[in-house]
Each structure stands twice: as structure tokens, then as C-alpha cells.
């Protein structure tokens, strides 16, 4: 009997009529309906046009305005798939820090759907340092992209092995120095292309901004960012 990827309960497949009257193939269901409900999609609500957070209007939120003042030349246009809530906190914990690798499949389908919309962008995942890779065994972002069966270019590299972002305070994070650099051997490949930076989560936005800055300096014209959660 198939069990839910998240709650491990046996799963009953409920037929979706819209699916039946379409030409889509049978895709195995991974998550049961109850667990599915815990995820709140940001695509269904209005979001801030800067950071992609749920907001009352699409105008820049306060946080984005602060960023705007700080870096007037960086205009981040971010999109997130899901709201970062208790469920997502737990998911992150299990996927990232407890190493439950197969959880990457949970959002593969949605991620793929979303990335398909950026078909003329080159996807660049946020890298992790060698030491972290050794410790964790996988880069959580490129693993997500692999699961979504989307090609990507590992243009960025993390030279400095720093403390985990998640264990820092907001202030510490904002003060972090640029940890990324560009793999020069891949620069030619992305010549003149638009780039989509993908990460697992947007918390303060500093990681993404560092990556943005890195690519901006390279002379990339169009840069967009996307994360699973916000």
C-alpha cells in the first residue's frame, strides 16, 4: 500500500476530474490530501513584488524598501512557491539537517511546473561549501532541481566555509560578507543569458542578494530569484 511521503499514513487516491478530462499521464501521488493542506501556496495570494512575501498589495513591503535604500541598484524580483510556516520549518529540518533525502520529491512536481515558466532562463542554484557537502552528502538546492528534472548550471561556488545561516541572528546575517564567487570556466556558457537564482528558502534575503551581487558584477542583464519557501 502506498504511504504518504510526509506522514507515513496509508494513502487513498482521490480522483481529480479535471485530471481525468485532460491528457495528463498518471503520476504517483506522494503526499496525502491532509498533508497537502498544510502547505499554503503563495501563488494563490497577492505578494510583494520585491521579496514575494504574502502582502496586502503588490507594492514593495517595508523590508524591501529598507533593502532598496541600502542597495539602490539592486532590484530584486523574487518569487516563492510556498509560505514558510510550521510545516515548512519541520520539512526543512528533516530535509536539510536530518538528511532525509527523499523528501526532495515532495515539491518536485510543483517546482518543475514553476521552473517551466522560466524556460529562457539559465538556472543557477545557490552553492554550499565543500565542507558542508562532505558533511551533508548533497547540495539541497541542486538535489531539488534534480528531482524536478530541470537542467542547471552550477555557476556559483562557495569558497568560505562559514557558520550555517540558520544558526545566525538576523543582524549577523545582514553583516555577512560576500561568500560566493563565480566559476570562471562556466562564464562563457551564460554569456548574454538571463539567469534565475534558485534557493530553498528566503529568510532575510541576504544570501540571494549576495548571489545577485556576484552575478551583477559579472554583467548579467536579467537576474531573477526563486525559492521554495518564503
Amino acid at each position: 500500500m502506498t504511504t504518504c511521503l510526509w506522514c507515513q499514513q496509508p494513502m487513498i487516491h482521490v480522483l481529480d476530474l479535471k485530471w481525468f478530462f485532460s491528457l495528463k499521464p498518471i503520476a504517483p501521488y506522494l503526499v496525502c490530501a491532509t498533508c497537502q493542506k498544510q502547505v499554503s501556496k503563495l501563488s494563490e495570494v497577492t505578494c510583494c513584488s520585491g521579496c514575494g512575501q504574502a502582502a496586502s498589495s503588490t507594492a514593495l513591503c517595508k523590508e524591501c524598501q529598507v533593502w532598496q535604500e541600502k542597495y539602490p541598484h539592486h532590484f530584486l524580483s523574487h518569487q516563492a512557491l510556498y509560505q514558510y510556516n510550521d510545516f515548512f520549518k519541520e520539512w526543512m529540518k528533516q530535509y536539510k539537517f536530518q538528511g532525509i533525502f527523499h523528501l526532495r520529491m515532495m515539491f518536485a512536481e510543483d517546482l518543475r511546473k514553476q521552473l517551466k515558466k522560466y524556460h529562457h532562463y539559465t538556472i543557477v542554484p545557490i552553492p554550499i561549501s565543500e565542507e558542508r557537502l562532505q558533511e551533508r552528502g548533497y547540495n539541497q538546492v541542486s538535489a531539488l532541481l534534480d528531482a524536478a528534472k530541470m537542467p542547471y548550471t552550477p555557476l556559483l561556488k562557495k569558497e568560505v566555509h562559514s557558520e550555517r545561516q540558520s544558526s545566525k541572528s538576523k543582524k549577523q546575517r545582514l553583516e555577512t560578507q560576500q561568500p560566493f564567487c563565480v566559476r570562471q570556466e562556466l562564464v562563457q556558457q551564460i554569456e548574454g543569458q538571463a539567469i534565475l537564482i534558485v534557493d530553498d528558502i528566503y529568510t532575510t534575503g541576504s544570501t540571494l542578494r549576495h548571489a545577485y551581487q556576484c552575478l551583477d558584477e559579472l554583467g548579467v542583464k536579467v537576474i531573477k530569484t526563486l525559492t521554495l519557501a518564503r
Binding site: 500500500m1 502506498t2 496509508p10 487513498i12 487516491h13 482521490v14 480522483l15 476530474l17 479535471k18 481525468f20 478530462f21 491528457l23 495528463k24 499521464p25 498518471i26
Partner: protein, 779 residues
């Protein structure tokens, strides 16, 4: 495969429909679309299992429907037949047996009819609950096909059950009880059921009894025709076939009880499995009961095998199994409504979940009504307009009051004796509820504009309607705009339905139809492009005195049984003019009942025929209703809109006898027609004297082909190419007489007869006409 049983379910359904309606092209289109979609699932397991299941259904269905062989040759007069206890039906003085004839080559089922001689015999048969072995003498006949268009086809109905012969028994020579073997549980259970029904019939009054049998056993035969008609017009028929809640609760209760007394879960599930099968056999696996029993059976079976499927899967499994068991179920209205509405509830249940309970109820009855509308229209040729309202009102009442009550009454009735205090008390109390329900239905039944007559819907229209219905529900429905979306769906569905009917009417050819009304005349004239419908005579039955015991419960008048359903099946709600040729019952008998259901604008009859007392009573009643009554005499032209006819007879005021018949001459297409009513030789001579040059193409032969009409001079003068005779099959007057037939043959008239060929019709357009066609196929 889990969660995807909808694929084999729908394939089986389409295949069985295609087997029954091989000419409906649209079904093949749907099949192709379905296979296309199936291919796109890209799941080998689902595709192969679905195709396998489809092939099994196709093979089994084909053999069950088409591959019917017989052991009899039709000349046997003496047969040994075995009759199961549920094969015996007594209706008034008619005994109907479904028996099986057994030889070493195999077994064949046949239907036997016997007219009971007296009340004692009737009582004895009514008490019969044993399997019987009979030796009978009688004559075998092929069952009769439908005699009018869209009428119930008894021949096909029987053929689909593998029955090819009907025997009318003259004498039952020997009758002995066949004791069933100890292992024949099915026979024993059937016997138990018959006995239970007999017990219930004794202990309850007719009203309670009919509801108990209809709702607990799933057999609606005992509901009085009057109430059946009201249920049909109100559109609450689905209520009788959809609920399975009582079985659900019963299973839960028993399971809980077994667990409490210390039986393990596995064992109690095993017990329930067996119990369900026994229950199903006990109530006789009627279509709706079978659905509920099968669904629960599969649920328990899956639980026992440590599996869990979605409820839709159990449903489709039950559908496939019942289609394999008896493919002809699909033609049954109970099956269509019961499975259809359940499927709708399961498929669209997710839409209901966020709604409040009132909206939930409203939405479910909305779905049930919209779904059942074309099915009801297919069977009864009309759509109940308020069905949504009534279903909404009565659904909770049925589910929470009536069905549990009937179940309870059934148990009490079987456990307590007729004289016990408990039973009398319960009967008294419950009677009030049934009385209230019947009064309520009666009250609703008197409301105006209950139904909208659609005529017989084609499979194409129904398919289009369902495609629209599903599409709208899936893509248009928005829970946030509840009332707006359901009303727009409602409007769209009605638009599809009414639109398709209107388009059909607009492109309609004209038609002259000599309806088969048995011994009598009734000729329907439909002008091309829906310009008006006219009727010449209505037909009618001459009734004979009968003792109370002889009267059959479902016996209906000719108007109710044949004429009105036929007119409705053609989508006719209004007749411009009804011509009554003369004042005999076989020509105007059905007029009064007809006027109650179909709007008649004008009645035309020969002046003087209102002197007949029976006819004048009818005319008076029609006059009270405000119908226009027009007595006419020759020689005039009757003109109404684009219809015109010459009235050639009678010249003077008479008394409405045969020789005073109204004679009409008119043209359809390029043919000239003469309708002479029952005009006899004297009248014919008078007519000829007046019009010595009269020539026509089609003659409605006078007086049903009697020798008193159609004199040689008359036929030779008119020189008709076609002669139409309307008379009853094996009528007591021996019409048409051989002399008349010989006379017509010698004048080279092509004869068409309703007694042999069923209804006769000709389609025409203003300048052309098609050849005559007949309804009955086995000439």
C-alpha cells in the same frame, strides 16, 4: 491500479451501451476519445488492465445479448417446466410464470401465461412459495415486439434475458412441489423472501406494504400506478433507488456489536461478508440493492485483505460486476438512476464538502435532478420541472425517516404476530407517516406545470447533454459564487436540452401515423416543420364487467397506456384539432383522458353525433373546459393554418352511427388520402352518388376491414393504391374479413394492417413522400 478503476468502469459502460445501441455513432466517438485519453495515462498497468476488462465485458456482453439459442421449435404443446418461487406473479386473473425447461442439451427460460378461472385458484397461487414442477399444455408464441414507435419492446426485453418463447397455458396438467436440495441456499432464501412478502402483505395495509417492499427489498411493483405516476411527474423516482444508508448503518451496527461481544475484527468482517451475500440473495439482488450490497462487499473484502481503495473504486468495481452479471440492467431506469446518481455524488462530493448543510442538500439534489432529467425524459418523455425542489425537501426525509422506518417495520412485521399489541401500535403510528407522505405527494401532484414534455431523446442528445453537464460542473462551478454558478449551470443544461429538441422539430418531415390502438382507429397527422399536429379519432376500449378479483392492478386505459405516452414520446403537448368520425367508443373512447394531459384546441365531429348519450357526456365535459367544439356537415373545406381537408360526408344531421361517419379527403405530399371512419356500404353508395369522379391514392379502409364496408363498386371507383386497415390483433369481430381482403387484392390495393404490422406510417414533404413503413418487424 488503485484509484484508477474509473478507466475500466467507463470502458465497460461504453461497451455495453454500444452493444445495446450499435447504431449510435456517437458512442463509438466517445469510445475513441476514451481510448485516446487512456493511452495518454502512459501507465502500462492501467492500460492493460482496462483493455483486458473491456474485452471481458465485450465477450460476456456479446454472448449474453446476441448469442441466444433455443431448444424449442415452437410447435411443442406439452412442456415440463420448473418454476422458482419468485417466478410466480399473480395479477388479477392473470398468472405469469417464469419457468425453465430442461433437457439433457441444456436449460431454457420461458414465460408462461395462464388465465385463472376462479378466485380459489387465485388464492392458491398467491400463497405459493415453493419451487414447482409443472406439466402444462398450451401454445408457444414469439413474444411481441413494440407495436408503436418508442413503445416498450417486450420481445427485446425478454430476448436480453435470454427468453425467446412465451407460452399461453390452456391447462396445467400436473403440479408438484420440487423440494430443493439442502445445499440450494439460493432457492431457500428466495422462498423465504416470498414468504416474507406474503407475511408483510397480510400484516400491513397496502400503503405501508408497498413502501416497505419498495425501499427494503427494492421492488416497486406493489406501488399503486396512481402514485407511481405522481412520483414520476414530481421527479422523485431517484429517491427510491439511491439510498444505501440503511445497509451502511446496519453493517456498522453489526460490526460494532460483534466487536463488543468479543469477536475479532477479521472474523466480524468475514461474517459481514457472508451476511451481505445472504442479505443480497434474500432481497433478490434488485438493481439498487445489488449496488449497495456489492459496494459494501468489496469494502469489507478489501479491508480483510488489508487493502484500502477510494470509494469510487468500490463503486466502479460494483458497476463492472453487475454489468457482467446482467448487461441488460443498463436499460433499466432503476439501474441508470441508482448507479448514475451515486456516481455523481461520489465524483462531485469534493465540491460539497466546504458548504453549509442546507447548501449541501440543495447542491446534491441539484446534481441528482440535473443528472436524472434526460434519463427520465428518455423513459417517460417528459422532464419534471420542480424535481430539484422536491428532491431537496424529501431527500433528508427519505434517508433519515422513511427508510429506517421501513426497515424497522419490516423487522417488526416479521417478528411479531398480527394480533400482538406491538404490531398494532407500530402499524397505527407508522400509518400516519405514510398517509402524510401520500397526501403531500398528492398535493404536489396537483401543482400546475409539473412537467415539460420533451419527446423521446436520442442517444446523441443525451450524450451531448451529459458532456455539457460534466464539463460545466468541472470548469464552471465556483464554491465562492454558489448560487450564481449553479444557476448558470442550470440555464446552460436547459439550453442544451431545449435547443436540441427545437432543432429536431424544425427540421422535421411531415408524417401520417396510423397508431396501433388495438381494435379502433387513431391517425396522427404531423405537418412538416412542426406546423401543427392533428388527430383523426382517438381509439378507445370497450370495457367489460369484471369481478373484483379479476381486475389487474396495473391495468390501464388505452389512453394512459398507449395513446398519451405515444404522443408524448413524439414531443406533442398540443393538438390543433381532433376529428371524431362518429360516436362509437373505439373512435372517441380515449378523448376525455387525452384532453386531460394534452392540450386540444378544437374537436370536430359530424353534426348529430352528439345525440349519442356517451359521446355527448364527453363533449359536455370538454365544453366545460372551454374547448372549441365544431359540429360539421358536408360539403365544406376545413382549413386551419396550413392544414386543409375536404369534408365529403355526412350531408345531413344524423345520430353518429357508422353510416354517419365523417369522411375527410386531404393531400399529403403528392398523395391524396381518404379517411372514411366506419362508413359502410350504404354510406359508400351515397358518397359515390355525390362524387362519381372521386379518385384517391390512399384509403383508410372503412370499419376496420369489415365485410359491411368497402363494397366492390366503391373500391373500383376510388382505385386506391394503398389500403390501411386499423384493427386489433386477434379481435373478436374477426376484422378484417376475408371477403374485404380478397376484394382489395383483386383491385390490386396494397394492404397495410395494424394487427399484423403494428403502427403504419409515411413520412412526407410538400412535394414528395417516402414509402409506407411499419413498426412491427417480425411480420
Amino acid at each position: 491500479m488503485k484509484g484508477y478503476l474509473i478507466f475500466p468502469g467507463i470502458l465497460s459502460l461504453l461497451i455495453v451501451v454500444a452493444l445495446f445501441y450499435p447504431n449510435a455513432i456517437f458512442i463509438y466517438l466517445l469510445l475513441l476519445l476514451f481510448l485516446f485519453r487512456l493511452g495518454h495515462t502512459k501507465c502500462l498497468k492501467v492500460i492493460s488492465l482496462t483493455i483486458f476488462c473491456g474485452l471481458v465485458v465485450l465477450l460476456v456482453g456479446y454472448f449474453k445479448i446476441y448469442h441466444v439459442s433455443t431448444l424449442l421449435n415452437g410447435t411443442e404443446t406439452q412442456l415440463q417446466v420448473q418454476v422458482a418461487p419468485d417466478g410466480i406473479k399473480v395479477n388479477g386473473n392473470l398468472l405469469r410464470l417464469q419457468g425453465s425447461y430442461q433437457t439433457d442439451k441444456g436449460k431454457e427460460t420461458l414465460i408462461l401465461f395462464y388465465t385463472l378461472a376462479n378466485e380459489e385458484e387465485q388464492k392458491a397461487w398467491q400463497k405459493q412459495s415453493d419451487p414447482l414442477q409443472l406439466e402444462v399444455i398450451g401454445t408457444l408464441e414469439c413474444p411481441e415486439g413494440n407495436r408503436n414507435r418508442y413503445q416498450f419492446n417486450y420481445q427485446q426485453y425478454l430476448k436480453h434475458q435470454g427468453i425467446q418463447w412465451v407460452m399461453s397455458i390452456d391447462q396445467i396438467k400436473k403440479q408438484q412441489v420440487n423440494q430443493p436440495n439442502w445445499w440450494a441456499f439460493d432457492v431457500r432464501l428466495t422462498k423465504l423472501r416470498i414468504q416474507a412478502i406474503q407475511t408483510l402483505e397480510q400484516k400491513f395495509n397496502q400503503r405501508s406494504f408497498s413502501y416497505i417492499v419498495a425501499l427494503v427489498i427494492g421492488n416497486g411493483d406493489f406501488i399503486e400506478p396512481e402514485y407511481k405516476e405522481i412520483q414520476q411527474q414530481l421527479g422523485i423516482v431517484p429517491l427510491f433507488v439511491i439510498s444505501g444508508l440503511h445497509i451502511h448503518f446496519l453493517c456498522q451496527f453489526i460490526e460494532y456489536f460483534l466487536l463488543r461481544i468479543g469477536v475479532t475484527k477479521e472474523k466480524s468482517q468475514c461474517l459481514l461478508l457472508v451476511g451481505l451475500l445472504i442479505y443480497g440473495q434474500f432481497v433478490g439482488f434488485g438493481v439498487s440493492v445489488m449496488r449497495v450490497v456489492l459496494i459494501h462487499f468489496f469494502t469489507f473484502l478489501a479491508a480483510l485483505l488489508k487493502q484500502r481503495f477510494a470509494s469510487l473504486d468500490y463503486f466502479f468495481l460494483a458497476l463492472i460486476v453487475s454489468l457482467l452479471y446482467q448487461p441488460q440492467f443498463i436499460l433499466n431506469i432503476g439501474f441508470q438512476l441508482s448507479y448514475g446518481v451515486t456516481a455523481i455524488f461520489l465524483l462531485f462530493g469534493y465540491l460539497v464538502q466546504p458548504l453549509s448543510s442546507i447548501k449541501k442538500n440543495l447542491f446534491l439534489s441539484f446534481l441528482a435532478s440535473l443528472f436524472s432529467a434526460p434519463i427520465l425524459a428518455f423513459h417517460f418523455f417528459e422532464i419534471p420541472l420542480y424535481s430539484m425542489l422536491f428532491n431537496c425537501l424529501l431527500l433528508p426525509f427519505f434517508e433519515w425517516v422513511l427508510i429506517p422506518l421501513c426497515f424497522f417495520l419490516c423487522l417488526v412485521g416479521l417478528c411479531f404476530s398480527a394480533t400482538s399489541l406491538v404490531l398494532t401500535l407500530v402499524v397505527q403510528l407508522s400509518n400516519g407517516i405514510f398517509l402524510f407522505l401520500d397526501d403531500l405527494l398528492m398535493f404536489f401532484g396537483k401543482l400546475p406545470y409539473l412537467t415539460f414534455v420533451t419527446g423521446r431523446l436520442s442517444i446523441f442528445t443525451i450524450s451531448i447533454y451529459f458532456c455539457g453537464f460534466f464539463g460545466l460542473l468541472i470548469y464552471l462551478y465556483q464554491p465562492k459564487k454558489f448560487y450564481r454558478s449553479i444557476s448558470s449551470i442550470l440555464v446552460c443544461c436547459l439550453f442544451i436540452l431545449v435547443g436540441s429538441i427545437q432543432i429536431k422539430n424544425y427540421f422535421m418531415a411531415g408524417e401520417v401515423m396510423m397508431i396501433d390502438v388495438g381494435q379502433g382507429d387513431a391517425i396522427l397527422i404531423r405537418l412538416p416543420n412542426h406546423q401543427g399536429d392533428y388527430l383523426i379519432d382517438t381509439g378507445g376500449q370497450i370495457s367489460y364487467e369484471k369481478a373484483a378479483w379479476q381486475i389487474r392492478s396495473n391495468e390501464q386505459s388505452l389512453a394512459k397506456k398507449t395513446l398519451i405516452p405515444y404522443l408524448k414520446s413524439e414531443g406533442i403537448t398540443r393538438l390543433e384539432t381532433v376529428f371524431i368520425t362518429h360516436a362509437h367508443l373505439d373512435h372517441f373512447g380515449a378523448l376525455e383522458e387525452l384532453s386531460e394531459e394534452i392540450q386540444i384546441d378544437e374537436v370536430v365531429f359530424p353534426k348529430g353525433s352528439d345525440k349519442s348519450s356517451t359521446f355527448s357526456t364527453v363533449l359536455n365535459k370538454l365544453d366545460e373546459k372551454g374547448l372549441q367544439l365544431t359540429p360539421v356537415l358536408a360539403e365544406t373545406t376545413y382549413q386551419k393554418q396550413s392544414f386543409s381537408a375536404e369534408i365529403l360526408f355526412p350531408f345531413k344531421v344524423e345520430t353518429g352511427g357508422n353510416n354517419d361517419s365523417l369522411v375527410l379527403q386531404t393531400t399529403f405530399g403528392t398523395l391524396s388520402w381518404l379517411f372514411v371512419g366506419d362508413l359502410e356500404k350504404e354510406g359508400e353508395a351515397e358518397l359515390l352518388k355525390k362524387y362519381p369522379q372521386l379518385k384517391i391514392d390512399v384509403l383508410k379502409i372503412g370499419h376496420h376491414g369489415s365485410k359491411t364496408s368497402s363494397s366492390a363498386a366503391f373500391i373500383e371507383q376510388l382505385q386506391p393504391t394503398y389500403g390501411l386497415i386499423s384493427c386489433g390483433k386477434k379481435n373478436r369481430f374477426d376484422h378484417p374479413h376475408k371477403i374485404t381482403l380478397d376484394q382489395l387484392l383483386s383491385s390490386q390495393v396494397m394492404i397495410y394492417r395494424t394487427d399484423l404490422q403494428g403502427a403504419i406510417y409515411m413520412k412526407y414533404m410538400p412535394n414528395e413522400h417516402e414509402p409506407f413503413q411499419k413498426i412491427l418487424t417480425n411480420d
